[in-house]
């Protein structure tokens, strides 16, 4: 019978299937443990593989990238990088759940909470003189507030030499250069000045390039929430502390959302909306739509941080619409308030990389990172190779020829010749090298001026400024506990729940208040204040205040 034959085949078949599953599962494990230790003694330098996962999404280097090749040849280190695709929190969640980490990993509070990374202070003291020298000034700030260990090596914010930024990347009220030009480069200090210009210009030019002009836009999407939430603190003359105002004398944080500090701003936007200047879609759009809108050159102004819309700016320049790019102004509620948009560099705590518990040879890894911190390698990353990527002038200063500059804008070229994603995540020298050169071409004054467009020069001349940061008041020294936004609220805590609730309420009520009829603004606002009263904001403030105090206590002695 047919059954007999089938049975005879079936049993072995199933056995094979089951076996092959087991075997393949095992062999996979075998591979994993095998490849880290593969080394050949014939090489001058012993080959070593370091696996790395960062929050960076790219640009992903090509297989035969020049920088990676040099690292491999000179230092004997092969870097195996994994780039982020999709959501970082999710990716880390999976890694933690599986307990399977690369050697070097991107900084995140989740990982410290899960005990996934090792303390670095002893490793640095013993094996990494360059890193020790680099972080020496800020050593205490690197320590985790919970247990006093150093887990992360911040990627930005530690400066050598004089701090001399030319470009401004931070928050401001941005306005198109064309608008300023139209009205002869007037001084803009307050919201009224700003929206007056926008109103006049929009009335005069109801269409730009055939599409309707948008007076003012902004963004409240996912974690990019500052466009909606952060403006009031700046208008009131405070620096960027995230969701709170911190009294510089008493070091105590208070909320400003749903208070009278915030109300005038949203009331003003309500007026602006009534005049038809507000982009009604602003708070319903996603990040891509926002960038597309800015790239069309018909948005006259917005509140944002410049790095957030840099892609739109690049696109405008490529389209030859340089006059549609933006200048930032530090607006305040009324004249007499000192603006505090521009701040002194702060160390980028909670960012950068750390070494995980899975790393087999942490000493070699820290030595490798230390080598990359040397001036030679830092210049290699930032400037490139002398003669190929930059030239040295008679005064010892580096410069690029126009061809070299053009090359630096080419994404494909960069993938093969630079290691931007890697460099962005590793510890780095910022400010000036001992020989007087800036940390990168963008910050070398001569290079900066050579890259300015005609309209940029016109704007600078009209206002009598030399760099974009000159538009802002020069900042006082940072408060020791500054900034409050990078305080770890602790996973799963009451404070974090409250923070999320406050964000939800802001996202829900602020757009509603802005878009409501002028007569209804007060009703919506009081409903908003009432809802905010129900949130456990105390838990949030308590955590911040506790940490602010801790910072003053343990950082002041630096």
């Amino acid at each position: 019978m047919g059954v007999r034959i089938r049975k005879a085949v079936l049993v072995p078949l199933m056995l094979i299937l089951a076996l092959s599953l087991v075997v393949s599962a095992c062999s996979e494990n075998g591979n994993n443990s095998g490849n880290a230790s593969s080394s050949s003694n014939e090489d001058k330098v012993e080959q070593f593989t370091i696996t790395l996962f960062t929050e960076s999404t790219g640009p992903i280097p090509t297989e035969d990238n020049r920088v990676y090749k040099e690292i491999e040849e000179k230092l004997g280190v092969t870097l195996k990088e994994e780039y982020l695709v999709g959501d970082l929190e999710q990716k880390l969640g999976v890694m933690i759940a599986g307990g399977d980490y690369p050697d070097l990993i991107t900084a995140d509070t989740k990982l410290t909470a899960a005990g996934a990374v090792i303390p670095l202070e002893d490793l640095i003291e013993e094996h990494a003189p360059n890193l020790k020298k680099h972080y020496g000034k800020v050593w205490n700030q690197l320590k985790d507030s919970a247990d006093g260990h150093i887990y992360w090596l911040p990627n930005y914010g530690v400066y050598q030499g004089e701090f001399k930024p030319t470009d401004y990347q931070g928050p401001a009220f941005y306005i198109q250069k064309a608008v300023l030009k139209e009205y002869g480069y007037p001084e803009i200090k307050t919201l009224d000045d700003y929206f007056k210009l926008i109103e006049d210009y929009a009335a005069k030019y109801p269409e730009i390039d055939g599409q309707p002009t948008i007076g003012f836009s902004s963004l409240a999407f996912d974690w990019r929430d500052w466009g909606l939430r952060n403006a009031p603190q700046h208008l009131a003359g405070h620096p960027n502390d995230g969701g709170v105002l911190v009294d510089p004398d008493t070091n105590v944080a208070t909320l400003y959302s749903a208070t009278d500090v915030a109300k005038p701003y949203y009331n003003k936007l309500n007026d602006v909306n009534a005049k038809g200047l507000m982009d009604k879609e602003a708070f319903a759009q996603n990040y891509d739509q926002y960038l597309a809108k800015l790239s069309s050159g018909r948005v006259l102004g917005m509140f944002d941080q410049r790095w957030n819309f840099v892609q739109a700016r690049d696109s405008l320049i490529t389209q030859g619409k340089s006059e549609r790019t933006y200048v930032g102004f530090p607006l305040v509620y009324e004249e007499g308030i000192q603006d505090y948009y521009l701040d002194r560099p702060v160390i980028n705590l909670g960012n950068g990389v750390g070494i995980t518990v899975d790393a087999e040879d942490p000493v070699r890894i820290i030595k490798f990172l230390d080598t990359l911190m040397s001036e030679e390698w830092q210049k290699r990353f930032a400037w490139g190779v002398e003669g190929e990527d930059y030239l040295v002038g008679d005064d010892g200063l580096y410069y690029r020829t126009p061809e070299m500059r053009k090359q630096q804008d080419d994404v494909t070229w960069k993938q093969a010749n630079k290691a931007e994603a890697l460099y962005g995540q590793l510890p780095k020298l910022e400010g000036n090298y001992p020989d007087g050169n800036a940390d990168s071409a963008g910050n070398q004054p001569e290079e900066f001026f050579a890259n300015l467009k005609d309209i940029d020069k016109e704007v600078m001349n009209a206002y009598g400024h030399k760099t974009w940061t000159d538009f802002f008041s020069s900042p006082p020294d940072n408060r020791v506990s500054y900034p409050a936004w990078n305080i770890d609220l602790i996973e799963g805590s009451e404070a974090k729940v409250a923070n999320q609730k406050m964000k939800d309420l802001d996202f829900k009520y602020l757009p509603r208040a802005i878009l409501s009829e002028p007569g209804e603004f007060d009703t919506v606002w009081s409903e908003y204040v009432e809802e905010m009263g129900k949130v456990n904001t105390e838990a949030y403030l308590d955590r911040l205040n506790e940490q602010l105090k801790w910072r003053v206590d343990s950082w002041s002695s630096n």
Partner: protein
């Protein structure tokens, strides 16, 4: 059938005889049992083994530590869920959007299947079918992108057409007002899935005995009579089974992706589903236990719903799956 030989031994006590029958039947069906073994293992491994993780719901789970090193918090996670103002709203949204999508999805899919079935020219039929199921292969990211572009106040096609027809005077901010949100979700679901859902009904229709149509024709039935009295009753079992299966998914079927991508702060009261709530208050702020608690709640409700649907189907004298 089985039990013939054993009956002869009458002295044996009842129990022994039953065991004998049982084992002999097992032995006789060993090929079948062996064949089903992988599937049983699969279900056991992926549907039952993970249940022990439900322990997490009663802990304040910290990732990176074993489940025995955690602090036990009893029903804290559940009380957080049920005392939170927004949770009721979130359940309402999930169920509402699920039901809307379910009903719309069923009606349109069955409707389109019936219509397609009436087309005699196979070329045109295939063409329409292909076009209608192609959106199924697009991911929600792309679909929601298309939807928000079409609904934009700034040159979106919906507003443009309505303006040209003088139905509205100024563009409507579709995605900025909560009252439209459920409808938009329902219609987007239809657009994406209608063609795909039709396939199974079309298949069911082809299995209807053509002689029934001939008989109906002889009795003088027209097109609509034939649809009503032959085609629809013919696919009724399929409809009911799919309905039961979908009811079990109601708390999940409301979906996550579409609301996550289309939603924004302004429509939060209408767009937030259980999954988004869990993502925000559980996973994003590192409270995994809350996610598990919500998962348990969803599972229990789903089982209850599934049984209800099953009982209703039984009352209607239809096939059941449990």
């Amino acid at each position: 059938m089985p039990q013939q030989t054993v009956h002869k031994v009458e002295v044996n006590p009842q129990s022994v005889r039953r065991t004998n029958t049982y084992w002999s039947r097992m032995i006789r069906q060993r090929q079948l049992i062996l064949m089903s073994l992988p599937m049983v293992l699969y279900v056991f491994l992926f549907a039952y083994v993970p249940i022990w993780g439900w322990m997490m719901a009663f802990q304040q789970f910290k990732p990176g530590f074993s489940i025995f090193e955690q602090t036990w918090v009893g029903f804290d996670q559940f009380s957080f869920l049920f005392t939170d103002d927004s949770f009721i709203r979130v359940i309402r949204n999930t169920i509402a959007m699920s039901v809307i999508s379910l009903v719309l999805g069923f009606v349109t899919a069955v409707g389109l299947a019936l219509l397609l079935n009436e087309i005699k020219q196979t070329g045109i039929k295939r063409f329409i079918q292909t076009i209608s199921y192609l959106p199924h292969f697009l991911s929600w990211v792309i679909v929601t992108g298309l939807v928000s572009m079409a609904l934009s106040t700034d040159g979106g096609i919906i507003n443009d057409v309505l303006m040209k027809l003088h139905i509205i005077n100024e563009p409507i901010l579709w995605l900025g007002e909560g009252k439209y949100f459920w409808g938009i979700v329902g219609l987007s679901n239809v657009w994406k899935e209608v063609g795909w859902n039709t396939i199974i009904y079309l298949a069911a229709i082809t299995s209807i005995d053509p002689s029934q149509y001939e008989a109906a024709e002889v009795d003088g039935a027209g097109r609509f009579r034939k649809i009503w009295n032959v085609t629809l009753p013919g696919i009724r079992p399929v409809i009911v089974i799919l309905l039961i299966m979908n009811v079990g998914w109601i708390l999940n079927g409301g979906g996550f992706e579409i609301q996550y991508f289309l939603g924004n702060g302004q429509v939060l009261d209408w767009s937030e589903t259980i999954d988004i709530f869990v993502l925000k208050y559980g996973l994003k702020i590192g409270n995994y236990s809350l996610g598990v608690a919500a998962g348990i709640f969803k599972t229990l409700v789903s089982i209850v719903l599934l049984y209800c649907a099953n009982i209703i189907a039984k009352r209607l004298g239809e096939e059941r799956i449990i």
